[in-house]
């Protein structure tokens, strides 16, 4: 809690620091009210993918579909993630039409603990009702919130639900031999790529969380497919920031930081992967303003992986083995 108190004391008017005049966080606050549940559009879900409102595995989408109104093609992260999940899982994936915010931004950005707790309670209730055991997300902020912060408030959260980032989810399935990484690089030359560690998936996680190493292990596998993984100068828990988190306002300092990051990326590879929708938004946004860094292709981990996964055995066989 110290962090949010620090933020609260450092700024007299916290709301002033919230980007887009606080429209996103206002939506969050509305969601935290009891009896007010959003009616989300699931139009982005392809017709051929079956989804359910009850089941084992929940895809916790987060704010991505809301951002899609303002930022280009951010929905493709959600789409890719859902495609990966439904490729691997035999039961339909659970998607909540009334999914609410995890509360990350009001907690970190504005220090509104009460709102955060209300959201957590509502979320847990929803998870329990739907009979969820595994929660998968492609958002670094949702991940950290569910994985680290909820269990601090509700001790049994960790026992009730297994929270996985899509990186971990793929990694585990891969290690269990359920899937393999396939798909040769189509271009003739080797394609170099690098990875931007989101803060919430590196230095903001407990040390025993090995997600940074897991991602590297997956990237190494890509070297067999005509890709070359290169680290940027700053990486893992020392990686440079994408500029802002929690929908705080950006400014020229944040831009400078991002610009520096993009220069590192440009030296390291043609493609830069990241695993947080906001990192992608912030870093791509800068490309519109600065031509010299626009050549770097920024892609989400899920968007990159979606065409490189093959299920090893038919689902039935796996069932028999069990």
């Amino acid at each position: 809690m110290a962090r949010y108190k620090m933020r609260q004391s450092a700024n007299k008017n916290i709301d002033e620091l919230i980007a887009h005049k606080g429209v996103y966080t206002t939506i969050t606050e509305i969601m935290s009210q009891p009896y007010i549940n959003p009616d989300r559009s699931l139009e982005w879900v392809p017709k051929n993918i079956k989804i359910a409102d009850k089941g084992n595995v929940l895809y916790y989408v987060g704010c991505i579909p809301y951002f899609n109104y303002e930022f280009d093609k951010i929905n493709s992260i959600a789409l890719s993630t859902l495609q990966i999940l439904s490729l691997i899982e035999k039961e339909p994936i659970v998607l909540f039409k009334e999914e609410i915010c995890c509360g990350h931004d009001v907690y970190w950005g504005q220090g509104k603990l009460e709102v955060f707790i209300n959201l957590a309670k509502k979320n847990i209730e929803m998870f329990e009702k739907a009979g969820i055991s595994t929660i998968v997300t492609a958002c670094a902020e949702c991940y950290r919130t569910l994985k680290v912060d909820y269990p601090k408030l509700f001790e049994d959260f960790g026992q009730k639900f297994e929270v996985k980032h899509i990186i971990e989810y793929i990694y585990d399935n891969w290690k269990e031999g359920k899937i393999e990484i396939v798909g040769k690089n189509e271009s003739e030359e080797e394609t170099s790529f690098t990875y931007h560690d989101p803060c919430r998936l590196s230095r903001f996680l407990p040390e025993d969380n090995k997600i940074t190493d897991k991602s590297r292990e997956i990237f190494k596998e890509f070297e067999k497919l005509g890709y070359k993984f290169t680290e940027m100068e700053h990486n893992k828990s020392n990686s440079l920031c994408c500029g802002v988190n929690s929908w705080m306002n950006c400014n020229e300092k944040s831009k400078a930081l991002r610009y520096k990051r993009m220069l590192e990326a440009k030296t390291a590879g043609e493609i830069m992967l990241t695993a947080c929708p906001k990192c992608k938004i912030h870093l791509s946004c800068l490309q519109d303003d600065y031509a010299d860094i626009s050549s770097v292709e920024i892609s989400d981990f899920s968007e990159f992986l979606v065409n490189h996964i093959k299920v090893i055995k038919p689902k039935k066989d796996i069932e028999v083995e069990k």
Binding site: E16, A19, H20, K21, N249, C250, N251, E252, K253, K255, A256, Y259, K260, L263, D289, Y290
Partner: protein, 1035 residues
């Protein structure tokens, strides 16, 4: 030479010309016969084609006139005599008695409320509504001063009553007031007397004597929310809602038997408008229009008449009316008419009939013409000196504008009015700025720092009993007195009276006030008065705040005194909270380079340049072709004056070339435009790629139009030599060798080729009919044996001269009417000499006709000049969907762009003939010269500002700014190990109007509007809500 101007008539023409004249540095005496300014436009319900509320767009201008220190408003006055000559006229004006002391009356209306006289017809409502014998014509009247009708007032007629004198708290009633003659000296006179619509003068067959037959102007009042029926469409006999309403066009006009042979020019449009508004008002009413031709003379007008039919289900019949009779039992009307489409005679029963009766010169125009010693034309409109100098009358120094010269619509009138101002400025150049006053303050401005303890003074007005009767003012005063930081609070009878101004000044000194609030009427009319008083006492005018407890409390809560009182307390308390946060603001002066740049060297561009040059401003005219003249170079004979175009062309080009103030750049185009009003840097490039840099204060866009080439239509392909456009035949007629004409037997003109279509060009370009009619006659004169056939849809000749011109030439040709649904067909019969067959269904004869022809002339619409998009981008001004430039407001600002400093005229705005182009060009020059003459512009203190450290350079503010006042600038920022260029929003205070759109849009809250910033507005909201919560009112 006098630096003052007399303007006669205070309708929109007189208002516009007066406002422009004061900005050009002249004092104006604005004489109006009736008790209020506003004229006919104030009576209209809506204006076409945008359906803006007419009074809503006019009232701000009326208030502007009222507040203008250099306009002496002489309403209820008449001009009696004039002597002298241009530059030095002596004028006698008769002031008619209002029986009210103008200086004392505050317009509170207490007198009329108590006047016992039974109500009489109100002429503002076309005698449909009622008023008392002490009255103002309408609630928004300017000046808001009452008057007594001497023929009705019991005191004045019988010497009894006197109630108004008893109730008037301001002691303004004076039954002894007499007529008074006032002598004034002026340098020039502008006549803007307008029109009447005397339906009672129609012949009996139109049935105006029946109760349920009304004139269009009466119907405007019926439609109007402030009219006699409160905006409900009711007929007069039974005040029932009519189900079938018939609109009769050309009722008495274009008709030699009714003595009004000309077309009134605006009726087709207002009929369509009235039908649309009726459809919007009442679900049951069905509208039927009995039309002749459709003449939609103006920008996007033709499409408007189509919308009435397609979107609002208004039915149009092409008819001739024989008589209108009444069914005495039902009071319904029976219209006997001939259907011109079927040739049959029919009857139509309507519940209400609206007549588009002719618009004629204002009553009394003959006497005025005699007094002014100027000529009238044969229709009794004022006669212009010559067709192309229509703003000049027959007497030097007396100018004309608006409807007193002939039928025209509001935008034409406004353009005329600005043009006249320019002409006057040229005439009275040596006396400019000699008789205008600018307020100077002798008390030094008091320093007020944000850290100073606010010391607020509040004055609450009773406005006679106008506020006092419905709001418990003493109670409000006692409440406000106790608020923190309020050090002085009083209430008084009239806060706007001159002794109240002295009181305010005294109290500011006595209590060392650093904020002032007046709670009274509307800031629109009174804020500048109180601001001036503050300034006189040394208080920055932005430390003043006004609360409108009249409109918002006493007027709207007339029956609930408690609510009105509570709301007054809330509003004033909120103002007190805001007032604490007010900061003194500065108004900056920005210099103006006194030169102008005119883009386009056609007739509009040349006229505008000459106007500006004659006013003494260096003017650059940029023409892309090798010579000046534009489309005029292609014309043969000009109509209706039947003069060789080259005479007019050589004359005007000669004037431009010999004028020392004009610098023409031929074969040149604009390459780049930087800067803002008063300070533009323009680069122009010529055919040899030579760059010239020009510094200029204003820019006029006069890029003109061009003829649409109808490739693929009616055998026109560029190869068939005997199928040509109007311009092509004009050029051919300019050849000295005319032997080609003798070989021709029959020529066919096809009108509306590629115009007024469902797809493609949907507009009517207004000038093609006139050109065709002219050319018929020219061909006929050159070869009298020639047979001419004209295939037309409607004949668009809506100007006072044109109807006669058209009728005289009708005999020269056979006119066949076709419909869009059944286009004529042209097939080629022979190659050499070329011969064509024409097949057409003539709707007049209801028959198919086939004939052969040797020559086909196609009348095609005018389209915008090429490459306007790039120019529009450079100037940051918009184009409309048809590709012409889009003006700031179609009705009232036809020559301005929303961006200050840039103006437009001529065919750059819309297709128009030479006379209108000249009128607009003079007007645009007048508009531009306002800034150039002033030499500097004062920015408002009420503008948006950017906190640069917060700005993220996203550019959303730049996108939404309607005045193009925001630009993104690039700044290099250095950090430890990188340097980046960041964009920052930058607001030009010379262009900013303080609308606040940017502040509301900025995603990071980096923009705030001075005097209305987020803290100030937040303080008001907090003050309101916190008090409510405290009292348990909400939540």
């Amino acid at each position: 030479m006098e630096g003052a101007v007399l303007v006669i008539g205070a309708g929109i023409a007189g208002i516009q010309t007066s406002l422009d004249l004061t900005e050009l540095g002249f004092k104006v005496y604005l004489v109006e016969k009736s008790p209020s300014i506003g004229g006919r436009m104030a009576q209209l319900d809506k204006t076409f084609p945008t359906n803006d509320c007419s009074l809503c767009i006019l009232a701000p201008k009326m208030v502007e006139v009222y507040r203008n220190p250099n306009i002496e408003l002489m309403t209820y006055h008449e001009v009696k005599a004039i002597s002298g000559e241009a530059g030095n006229f002596d004028v006698t004006v008769l002031k008619k008695p209002r029986y009210i002391d103008e200086d004392k009356c505050k317009g509170c209306g207490d007198c009329a409320a108590k006047c016992p006289k039974i109500q009489v017809p109100n002429s503002f409502d076309m005698n449909l509504g009622k008023r008392k014998s002490i009255y103002i014509p309408f609630p928004q009247a300017v000046p808001p001063i009452y008057l007594i009708d001497p023929e009705l007032c019991l005191m004045l007629t019988k010497g009894v009553c006197g109630v108004c004198e008893k109730v008037c708290e301001a002691k303004a009633i004076n039954y002894e007031q007499k007529e008074q003659e006032i002598n004034i000296k002026v340098g020039a006179v502008v006549v803007a007397t307008g029109f009447d619509m005397p339906a009672e003068e129609l012949s009996p067959r139109w049935g105006y004597r029946f109760q349920n037959v009304v004139s269009a102007l009466e119907y405007e009042r019926i439609l109007c929310a402030s009219g006699p029926f409160g905006g409900h469409v009711l007929r007069l006999s039974d005040e029932e809602e009519p189900e079938k309403i018939a609109f009769i066009q050309c009722a008495g006009s274009r008709d030699l038997h009714e003595n009004v042979p000309y077309c009134s020019s605006v009726c087709c449009m207002y009929t369509a408008k009235e039908a649309i508004i009726t459809a919007e008002h009442s679900e049951n009413a069905k509208c039927f229009v009995f039309r002749h031709d459709i003449r939609a003379y103006g920008k996007n007008f033709y499409e408007f008449t189509q919308r009435a039919q397609d979107e609002y289900g208004v039915k149009y019949f092409q008819t001739k009316i024989s008589t209108i009779e009444e069914n005495p039992e039902t009071n319904d009307l029976i219209i006997h008419y001939e259907d011109l489409k079927t040739g049959k005679f029919n009857d139509f029963v309507a519940n209400l009939v609206v007549l588009a009766t002719p618009l004629v010169p204002k009553k009394g125009i003959g006497e005025l013409a005699t007094i002014l010693d100027v000529e009238l034309d044969k229709y009794d409109f004022f006669k212009e000196k010559s067709y192309f100098t229509k703003s000049l009358s027959s007497r030097e120094g007396i100018f004309l504008c608006g409807f007193c010269q002939g039928p025209k619509d509001i935008p034409e009138t406004v353009a005329d009015a600005s043009g006249v101002a320019s002409k006057v400025a040229t005439l009275l150049k040596s006396a400019q700025f000699t008789q205008v006053r600018e307020k100077e303050f002798d008390v030094a401005e008091k320093q007020v720092n944000p850290s100073d303890e606010p010391r607020i003074g509040v004055l609450i007005c009773h406005c006679g009993i106008n506020i006092g009767k419905y709001v418990d003012v003493p109670h409000v005063r006692d409440y406000i007195k106790l608020l923190p930081n309020v050090v002085w609070c009083e209430d008084n009878l009239y806060s706007c009276s001159s002794d109240s101004q002295e009181l305010i000044k005294e109290k500011i000194q006595e209590h060392n006030l650093n904020r002032l609030i007046v709670a009274s009427c509307t800031p629109r009319t009174h804020e500048p008065l109180f601001q001036e008083t503050c300034q006189e006492a040394g208080l920055n005018k932005y430390l003043f705040e006004m609360v409108n407890i009249r409109d918002q409390c006493s007027w709207v809560h007339m029956t609930e005194k408690k609510a009105a009182t509570d709301k007054s307390m809330d509003l004033i308390r909120m103002a007190v909270s805001k007032s604490k946060l007010l900061k003194p603001q500065k108004e900056e002066k920005i210099g103006v380079i006194p030169t102008a740049l005119v883009i386009g060297g056609g007739v509009s561009g040349m006229t505008a340049s000459l106007e500006l040059a004659n006013q003494g401003f260096k003017t650059y005219v940029i023409e892309k072709e090798k010579k000046l003249g534009g489309n005029l170079n292609n014309l043969n004979i000009l109509y209706p004056i039947q003069e060789d175009a080259s005479i007019f062309l050589n004359d005007i080009v000669g004037k431009v070339e010999s004028n020392n103030n004009i610098e023409a750049h031929l074969e040149s185009t604009i390459k780049d435009v930087k800067g803002y009003i008063g300070n533009y840097d323009v680069s122009i490039i010529d055919s040899k790629d030579k760059l010239t840099e020009i510094k200029t204060g204003a820019i006029i866009v006069a890029t003109g139009g061009q003829e649409f080439k109808p490739n693929g239509l009616f055998q026109y392909d560029g190869k068939n030599k005997q199928v040509m456009t109007q311009l092509e035949i004009e050029q051919k007629l300019q050849d000295t060798d005319k032997s080609w004409l003798e070989k021709l037997k029959r020529v066919t003109f096809i009108l509306c080729v590629g115009a007024r279509q469902k797809d493609g060009i949907s507009y009517c370009s207004n000038v093609c009919c006139g050109t065709s009619i002219k050319n018929i006659n020219i061909l006929k004169e050159l070869n009298p044996n020639l047979e001419i056939v004209v295939l037309y849809r409607d004949i668009q000749m809506a100007k006072k001269e044109f109807e006669e011109y058209y009728r005289n030439r009708r005999k020269d040709a056979m006119f066949l009417r076709y419909e869009l649904e059944r286009l004529p067909k042209v097939t080629k019969l022979a190659k050499s000499p070329e011969k064509y067959k024409v097949e057409v269904f003539d709707t007049n004869l209801q028959d198919n006709l086939n004939f052969e022809t040797d020559l086909i002339v196609l009348a095609t619409p005018m389209v915008p000049a090429d490459n306007l998009k790039d120019l529009a981008m450079m100037l940051k001004v918009p184009l409309d969907r048809t590709g012409f430039f889009l003006e700031a407001h179609v009705k009232l600002r036809p020559l301005d762009f929303a961006t200050d400093g840039i103006f437009l005229c001529g065919c750059a705005q819309w297709p128009k003939n030479i006379q209108d182009s000249i009128s607009q060009a003079s007007g645009a020059a007048g508009r531009a010269s306002r800034f150039l003459s002033a030499g500097e512009i004062t920015t408002s203190g009420l503008v948006a500002e950017v906190t640069q450290s917060k700005c993220i350079g996203c550019g959303e503010c730049e996108e939404v700014c309607p005045y193009k006042a925001i630009e993104l600038i690039e700044i290099t920022k250095n950090f430890e190990d990188v340097s980046i260029i960041v964009k920052k929003s930058s607001i030009n205070s010379a262009l900013c109007k303080g609308c606040g759109t940017c502040a509301a849009t900025c995603p990071v809250g980096a923009i705030s509007v001075k005097h209305y910033d987020f803290d100030q507005i937040g303080a008001m909201i907090d003050s309101y809500l916190l008090e409510k919560i405290k009292n348990g009112g909400i939540i």
